[in-house]
Symmetry: C2
Subunit: 238 residues, 2 copies
């Protein structure tokens, strides 16, 4: 009936994919903390230098209830960080409490009655525990089945927003090598620490394919964002 077939191309915006993200300040020699970490110097020798670019910002000071500080090209980076985050993942150390089973009665971590997260937080641990519901919208869920499961549960809880790995380069390393991180930002600081906690030291990383997303030069730091794609990612996906 028609001499020519008609093709219609409907332009429907693609649904936004939830990303698992990570960001860290890192020295030029690749460390996220200096040597000899301990209670007196949790970031190791000279590790505090990694965060100087951030600590002097007004936006950062304000978040901690402090006045003063400066505004520069880093302000926008800090403001953007976490803006679209719907759930967090952290390690047992960051939640609070040492290794081993939970004490009885269970200790409720470092963060007090009203933790600053105001989001669902998925804590990786080897020991089962019921969710801990806090004031202000923070609920800690304890995941014993490993990073892929934590990813899956957190993505579900983030309802369309992103999931961020929050602190703990040990946890980030584990996720990255397993191909579970989608996008990460390095705040590359012009300092050599000479030793400490190296972020990228796993031969499994060679299976991760990277794409440079953007590089932003700013005072005392360069912000580098990469997309990560893992060969075996599909097996970890929902």
């Amino acid at each position: 009936m028609f001499g020519r077939r008609l093709f219609f191309v409907a332009r429907v915006p693609a649904p936004r994919m939830t990303k698992l993200t990570y960001s860290a300040s890192i020295s030029l020699d690749g460390f996220t903390a200096g040597p000899n970490q301990g209670p007196k110097q949790p970031l190791g020798v000279r590790g505090e230098l990694l965060h100087e670019w951030m600590r002097k910002l007004a936006v950062w000071r304000k978040a901690g209830g402090l006045k003063g500080g400066i505004t520069n090209a880093n302000t926008k980076i800090v403001e953007g960080d976490g803006q679209n985050v719907g759930a967090l993942i952290m390690g047992r150390n960051m939640f609070g409490g040492g290794p081993g089973p939970w004490p009885t009665p269970a200790w409720d971590g470092w963060w007090g009655d009203d933790p600053p997260f105001h989001l669902p937080v998925f804590v990786l641990t080897h020991y089962k525990r019921k969710p801990l519901i806090c004031q202000g919208g923070t609920t800690f869920y304890f995941v014993t089945k490993g990073p892929a499961t934590a990813r899956k549960l957190a993505i579900g809880a983030a309802v369309g927003k992103d999931v961020a790995i929050c602190g703990g380069s040990g946890v980030a390393k584990q996720f990255l090598a397993a191909g579970l991180i989608d996008e990460f930002t390095l705040h590359l600081v012009p300092v050599f620490l000479g030793g400490g906690v190296r972020l990228f030291d796993n031969e499994l990383l060679s299976q991760v394919r990277l794409k440079q997303v953007k590089a932003v030069e700013a005072p005392g730091v360069t912000h580098l964002t990469y997309r990560a794609e893992h060969r075996s990612r599909s097996q970890h996906r929902r």
Copy 2:
């Protein structure tokens, strides 16, 4: 006689300081070559990926006598590289010949009668040898007294231009840890090699103070330039 003193400020341009420079393509996990380097893969497994951004450039192909290639934001970087260089420093391996004393008659290296350097080249070696004068302006000088002496001699030969460390991350590592490099550029490539030759793996680096000079985002690579200042630099200076 004068009620007010008069001050004259003469604006004389500061004399240009000769810099010792180094530049290298490096993976995001910090390697300048991949694992398992050998005659068949001099850059190790997947190490060639570090130079892809450069090899596709018209300016790079032209330098090697090839036609074609592309022009992008990387072109300017490659064009600028080496523009103000008056002398080079390299290791014995890059000049040619294995370890140990020079054979008799002495072998004249990889580079043929007319080496592509057209500059004085200072070769670090443990074994004395007379200078080797080649066609086209290249003369190889053999330095047995270590990096600080090589630096001093090369700066003298560069007559006001810069000195570049040319290839050999082993040599660059030695100079950097000893505080002998003034400025370096990392061509940071979005790839993980998972192993190989790590550029920054020395605790002495913690004595080097860095200053971020610039960051340039370009297709498939980010160019990061740093100034380096060493606590004990003065003792190495002329």
